[in-house]
């Protein structure tokens, strides 16, 4: 028991769900709370097999509302707790997430998107972007990493715990059913062996000492009586969110300097986008590539900087304009020559079709 789950660097070939379970172990997650849903089930399957070996815990709850609120409970108790869900599960999770936003609870979750709306399909989509970035009755105080590879699933789930516990905003790894179910190689490692400091979890309740005497009692709430009281409470949260942005925002760009057209995409689609860009470059087309990794906060300045160099874009997403909305907001008041879009809700992209599209229009 409780040897380090991963020692040394280890190249493995596994499903994304398995990689996530290992990443949570490596990040020293203490407990997972969850409710089954495809395509994230195997995160739970692996976790329930691995957790007892390393002194970690698991609770299967009665629904996603309970999964969310028990996870919050675990965090309040000072444990690194996390959950995972998808599709209609993510919809239900908006309720606990909204509480986490208000109470600054470092909730960590993997969201493996599936088709939408409603129950739809169980496998692949990018249709939970709206909801994961800005869902609930609030202002989107969240950090959302959209991953493209198993390596990133692993890296960013570990990073999510640090982001969440440093800034105290709910933090998500947003992937999808393809990433959940497919096998591909990645390198697993212990983050601390790589010199990455894992932020310690600290309890919100149950600290030592007699409350009201040795220390103030924790009186945590998410409800306020009058409008002004709420305003006073949430403005500082917003300011801290804004102040965090530059520290957490992440993106990837390639070959943008001389590009005549830039492919915009995120998540698994960006694999096709990058491959298409590379092949088109080989053929002599001046194609660039830009991919937001954090969808929230969005790499706004970064995209604007790129748009100053080239303002022809081809945007590809497996949804009907959810990334496009973020892009348009980011490029507000930036002159754009062309923003072509290919929307394929729930359906994947191949490099070939992007190549065809660009060759066709040139």
């Amino acid at each position: 028991m409780t040897d380090k789950p991963i020692q040394g660097e280890k190249r493995v070939f596994m499903t994304g769900n398995e990689a996530l379970a290992w990443a949570a172990l490596a990040a020293k997650a203490d407990i997972m709370y969850g409710y089954p849903i495809t395509p994230q089930n195997e995160v739970m399957h692996y976790w329930t097999r691995l957790a007892p070996k390393y002194g970690r815990k698991f609770l299967q709850t009665e629904d996603e509302l309970s999964a969310g609120f028990t996870t919050i409970g675990g965090i309040l108790a000072g444990r690194k707790a996390f959950s995972a869900t998808a599709g209609p599960g993510t919809t239900l999770f908006q309720e606990p997430i909204s509480m986490a936003e208000m109470m600054r609870i470092p909730l960590v979750m993997a969201i493996m998107q599936r088709g939408g709306p409603s129950t739809a399909t169980v496998i692949y989509s990018q249709q939970e972007v709206n909801m994961v970035t800005y869902g609930g009755n609030g202002e989107g105080w969240r950090v959302v990493y959209s991953t493209a590879t198993h390596q990133e699933l692993y890296d960013y789930l570990i990073k999510s715990f640090n982001t969440a516990w440093t800034y105290r905003f709910p933090t998500f790894v947003l992937a999808d059913g393809y990433q959940a179910k497919m096998r591909e190689p990645l390198v697993m490692y212990d983050p601390e062996e790589r010199g990455m400091k894992m932020v310690e979890a600290t309890p919100f309740v149950g600290l030592p000492g007699m409350p009201g005497k040795d220390r103030p009692a924790a009186h945590l709430r998410n409800t306020f009586s009058v409008e002004e009281e709420l305003y006073e409470a949430i403005i500082p949260i917003h300011q801290e969110y804004e102040a965090m942005i530059d520290h957490v925002v992440e993106w990837e760009e390639e070959d943008v300097d001389d590009a005549e057209v830039i492919i915009l995409s995120h998540g698994v689609v960006s694999r096709a986008a990058k491959a298409a860009k590379n092949r088109l470059r080989e053929k002599g087309y001046k194609v660039g590539y830009f991919r937001p990794i954090t969808l929230r906060p969005f790499p706004e300045k970064q995209l604007q900087r790129v748009a100053a160099k080239c303002n022809n874009f081809l945007l590809a997403e497996s949804a009907l304009g959810q990334l496009a909305r973020l892009v348009k907001e980011a490029l507000f008041n930036v002159p754009v020559n062309k923003l072509e879009t290919i929307y394929k809700p729930g359906v994947g992209f191949t490099a070939e079709e992007l190549i065809e599209k660009i060759e066709g229009t040139r």
Binding site: L65, G73, F204, V205, G206
Partner: protein, 250 residues
């Protein structure tokens, strides 16, 4: 001169007078609970969870770590805490709406899982905080804002019998009782046994409290007592429904 000797030590005097209405049974129950916290000396390892509903007004009631959660979600938050740190004692405190309507899946499943927490449901026959709508516990014939012509069991359902339900499903080790503000000694006994059941780690502990809501009942003191003692207790029987040792008190 100072007078707060009647207050349990675990009360947070800074927030008194508390936010509950005059004559509210929440106040009585929380006084008894405060006394129990004092007597069992658990103030420093207790986490108190309050729901949405008038229970939220207790978010800073005690000098006890307190978490105010969403409507119906106090149970899972407390379960989450307990699971993560079993050293802590967790009390989920909620109204009949939070416990029996929007949060009923959590109550039922906490019971089946025999979660080692304690849950208290304040039965005041209505949704107090939102201004007196029908609750799962509203009595047949009772007029509320959403049953203005009286609750008709045929179309609006019969009052939820929480302890009866929980007793029917909880595994061994559970403690299940219904008490009333009309019998304060019994109320204290039951609440205390429930807390002790959690301390012993036997299983789920559940107490429903028949309580008053003079504001929404629009009752004066006499009518308030009458309602609790006569109307409510006709339908809702007090007593122990499950004890870990199965010796029950009526």
């Amino acid at each position: 001169m100072v007078n707060n000797l009647a207050m349990p030590k675990s009360w947070n005097a800074d927030t008194k007078p508390h936010k509950f209405c005059p004559g509210c049974g929440h106040g009585i129950t929380l006084k008894i609970l405060g006394e129990i916290i004092d007597e069992l000396e658990i103030q420093d390892r207790l986490v108190f969870g309050v729901d949405i509903g008038c229970s939220l007004l207790a978010w800073d009631f005690f000098n006890v770590d307190t978490v105010q959660t969403h409507h119906g979600r106090t149970n899972p938050v407390m379960v989450g805490i307990k699971r993560a740190n079993p050293e802590l004692l967790c009390i989920a405190y909620m109204g009949d709406g939070g416990g029996y309507a929007i949060g009923s899946q959590h109550l039922v499943n906490s019971a089946f899982r025999n979660e080692k927490i304690m849950a208290i449901v304040i039965n005041n026959c209505n949704y107090g905080m939102t201004g007196g709508q029908m609750a799962p516990t509203t009595l047949p014939g009772q007029k509320t804002e959403t049953s203005p012509y009286g609750r008709d069991p045929e179309t609006m359902g019969s009052p939820t019998l929480g302890p009866e339900m929980v007793a029917a499903i909880a595994p061994a080790g559970a403690y299940v009782a219904r008490a009333s503000i009309a019998n304060i000694r019994q109320l204290k006994r039951f609440l205390k046994k429930a807390v002790e059941n959690q301390i012993a780690g036997n299983g789920f502990s559940f107490v429903e409290v028949l309580s008053s809501c003079p504001t929404n009942w629009r009752t004066n003191a006499k009518q308030t007592w009458d309602y609790v003692e006569k109307e409510m207790s006709k339908y809702f029987k007090t007593g122990e429904f499950r004890t870990p040792d199965e010796k029950k008190e009526a």
